[in-house]
């Protein structure tokens, strides 16, 4: 599954004022202590900018390294180019060439930790002054089945309905009133295709775990769950009634309404690309994909609209959440882990809790013509999130009005973590079900889900 991991992007989620002072104290104390003892120098390689970053961004990053090294004279930091993608990450992981500090999506955190592929940070994390401030649901994403903290959440998002305001207008729909039910989504998609000839609703259908990811999102929105339990004892439940309902809806839109276009192999990046090119009326992806659409696809901001995912009238219905974790290589020495924790605090966490740092990062983004104010979910809590948003308010350059349906609606919705056991494998097993429904008019949804359930259970039991 592809997530937009941006190690350099500042994260604007705030924390309590108390946490700010505690954090500053902790960083300062730790630095002074280190300096006074003159401990031997420890070197850490850290995930830095994505390949192809601008000179200004590189200069800004180097400035931050210099500042960190000044605060921590016994630590030397080397920035390493890093861009998370599934296949490259797997190869780097196997080859042992990952930097000491890197980022992974929520999707992978627990499974990597349980497979011994991330350093155990528990004893280090619990000493952090802001540890207790974490949103319990968010820190759970970096905690394995044994209760060990194996990664630190640095950003969170919720799945959202991305919609093209221009196509809504052209189809005679109100762009300020995006659909609030799945029936409305179906009706609006049909109308968009009929009136504009464009794809009304698009579903990621690539064989790279994204199709399964979006199907799981739909399942949650209808009130279902793809698995129950944790670890290798979890049970796959792919053929739940809500999954059938979601796939039936896709089948109707694809084969009856014929409003899903002609390309059923879109992935995360290509969906963004097609949407930014004005070819898609609606699709589901993370609330933060606008950044990628600006960076990679040169989207016209005026067409962009974001709304919460409609939830079915079911008490279990919820929005699938995700995010980014900072983690440490398992082969790191205790000294390197300690240094890595200081770097994570400095680089990833201080912008969440430190006004000055938050403003500085926002200024850098604006200078690099990058979006500021893209909707995310609080790593700590909603109040702190709003505080941090107020810090960077003068720098926000995203079309806030067009994001207001999401921003005003998301905190009323229940955000649910991704399936815990064998997450990527579960998504992969569900990929072919979605592909079958989108490419075979006679697809037998129930039997497809049952077959996938068998392989899914096998994936869970093997801990893959």
């Amino acid at each position: 599954m592809r997530f937009n991991i941006r190690p350099m992007r500042p994260i604007r989620i705030g924390a309590a004022v108390a946490a700010v002072s505690l954090l500053a104290l902790a960083v300062g104390t730790a630095s002074n202590a280190s300096a006074s003892k003159k401990a031997p120098t420890v070197t850490i390689n850290v995930a830095a900018l994505i390949p192809g970053s601008t000179k200004a961004a590189v200069a800004e990053f180097n400035k931050q390294i210099a500042e960190f090294e000044q605060q921590n004279p016994t630590i030397k930091v080397n920035g390493v180019q890093y861009d998370w993608t599934g296949p490259t990450f797997a190869a780097e992981l196997a080859a042992g060439t990952l930097p000491d500090v890197f980022t992974v999506p929520f999707t992978d955190g627990r499974s990597l930790g349980e497979a011994g592929q991330l350093a155990n940070l528990t004893s280090y994390v619990k000493k952090l002054p802001y540890f207790k401030q974490f949103n319990p649901a968010v820190i759970a994403e970096g905690t394995d089945a044994k209760g060990q903290v194996i990664a630190i959440p640095t950003a969170a998002y919720a799945q959202a309905l991305q919609y093209n305001r221009q196509l809504f207008s052209e189809a005679g729909l109100n762009p300020n009133d995006p659909p609030k039910t799945w029936a409305q989504v179906e009706a609006d998609a049909k109308q968009i295709t009929q009136k504009t000839g464009m794809t009304g609703f698009s579903e990621m259908g690539a064989n790279d775990n994204t199709a399964g990811w979006i199907l799981t999102t739909l399942d949650y929105a209808f009130g279902g769950r793809m698995e129950t339990g944790v670890g290798t004892h979890a049970k796959a439940d792919f053929d739940n009634p809500q999954a059938v309902q979601a796939l039936q809806m896709l089948h109707t839109m694809r084969w009856t309404d014929n409003d899903m276009g002609s390309n059923f192999g879109l992935s995360w990046g290509t969906s963004n690309q097609a949407f930014a090119a004005g070819q898609i009326g609606m699709f589901i992806s993370g609330s933060d994909v606008y950044t990628n659409m600006v960076q990679a696809d040169n989207i016209n901001p005026s067409i962009y609209g974001l709304a919460p995912i409609p939830l079915a009238n079911n008490k279990n219905a919820g929005v699938l959440g995700g995010g980014t974790l900072a983690a440490v290589k398992p082969t790191a020495t205790p000294a390197q882990i300690a240094a890595a924790m200081k770097w994570i605090t400095f680089f990833y966490m201080s912008p969440l809790v430190n006004k000055q740092q938050a403003i500085r990062n926002a200024q850098t983004l604006v200078a690099n013509k990058q979006p500021v104010g893209v909707p995310e979910l609080p790593v700590f809590n909603e109040k702190q999130y709003q505080i941090s948003q107020s810090w960077i308010a003068p720098f926000i350059n995203v079309p806030l009005k067009q994001l207001s349906p999401f921003n005003s609606g998301i905190f009323k919705e229940k955000v649910i973590p991704e399936p815990e056991a064998a997450t990527q494998a579960v998504y992969g097993d569900l990929d072919s079900v979605v592909e079958d429904v989108l490419t075979d008019p006679n697809a037998n949804i129930k039997s497809l889900l049952q077959a996938a359930n068998v392989t899914g259970q096998s994936s869970i039991e093997s801990g893959s």
Binding site: L93, A94, A115, P330, D431
Partner: protein, 329 residues
């Protein structure tokens, strides 16, 4: 002449030696003796010259092969210590529901490539060899797709295969009244679409091989055939094909081995979809190893790789034995 009567230059030399000629001597430098004499005879310098080659082959060919065999018997994520699991990986591969799908798709790809992709370069080569002018231009045009990097070619063909009515191929079909086709977006047409692109991309190299082989055909045979009243088809069937049969046999086995290892097209076009309709054995190996960002099942990937190697080795052996008499006639 019986087989025992065959006297090659080498055997003649040996025969001469045995009949009282020079005493039998091992090649220079390999004569056993004291280390000093071995050095004096240039053994050390030969070894020094061999070392880079031994190192390169050892490090990049032999060691990975040995490692692959060992890994196929292990469960490992290459981070934690590996555990020996015997033949469990092989068993897991065989029982994987995707395994028969991948084997079937690979066989179908190889079959389609053989039926359509194999004759096309031959026909093209025969036609090019028959034209009297601009032969070089036609050869260059035939070879041009080979020069295009595979990734670029696939991206190009992806636009051709756009399933909307505005797609390149669908627009052309529309001109002759044929409705838009789904190409790589449908399970039934995805694999043949991949074969089509693959044939286009790879035929050029085979055309050049055939053109080279055709230059070796004795023109007098064609003249003799013409005197006997043979038309073009009979000339091709009775003269051209028998004359280049050794090349034909080699290109066929190379094509079968190549298509059995098809990876670029399914990976770049469809990633094995839709609904595993283009999942091939090589892609399954890749998926085992790298399809999961958590770090794959390298043991299973190694096991399936070995199974593919073993199959192709046995197949090649059987093929070469079965066609030996034909190729040596």
């Amino acid at each position: 002449m019986s087989k025992t009567d065959v006297m090659t230059p080498r055997s003649q030399k040996l025969d001469h030696a045995l009949r009282g000629g020079a005493a039998i001597r091992a090649p220079r430098g390999l004569v056993l003796g004291t280390p000093a004499s071995w050095v004096r005879r240039g053994g050390l310098s030969k070894l020094l010259f061999l070392l880079p080659l031994l190192f390169v082959f050892g490090a990049f060919s032999w060691y990975p092969i040995v490692r692959l065999v060992l890994m196929s018997l292990q469960h490992t994520n290459l981070v934690q210590p590996a555990t020996w699991v015997g033949f469990a990986n092989f068993s897991a591969v065989v029982h994987d529901p995707l395994f028969p799908i991948a084997v079937r798709n690979t066989a179908e790809f190889a079959g389609l490539a053989l039926v359509f992709g194999y004759p096309i370069p031959l026909i093209a080569a025969v036609l090019i060899s028959e034209v009297r002018s601009r032969r070089g231009l036609y050869s260059a045009l035939a070879y041009l797709p080979v020069v295009i990097p595979p990734v670029v070619a696939v991206l190009l063909w992806k636009t051709f295969y756009d399933a909307s009515p505005n797609g390149v191929f669908n627009t052309v079909l529309g001109w002759v009244g044929i409705s838009a086709q789904p190409w790589i977006q449908a399970q039934h047409s995805a694999l043949p679409s991949l074969v089509l692109e693959s044939t286009w991309a790879n035929a050029g190299a085979t055309v050049i091989i055939y053109l080279a082989a055709l230059t070796g055909v004795n023109r007098e045979l064609y003249e003799a055939a013409a005197v006997d009243g043979a038309g073009v088809w009979k000339k091709v069937w009775h003269v051209t094909l028998p004359q280049i049969r050794t090349v034909l046999l080699i290109t066929m086995i190379l094509q079968i081995i190549g298509t059995a290892q098809v990876f670029i097209e399914p990976y770049l076009f469809t990633q094995g979809g839709p609904a595993n309709a283009t999942l091939t054995v090589m892609l399954l190996i890749y998926d085992y190893a790298f399809g999961n960002s958590l770090g794959g099942d390298y043991g299973k990937a190694a096991a399936l790789s070995l199974m593919l190697v073993a199959f192709l080795a046995v197949f090649s052996l059987v093929y070469l034995r079965a066609t030996r008499s034909w190729s040596s006639e």
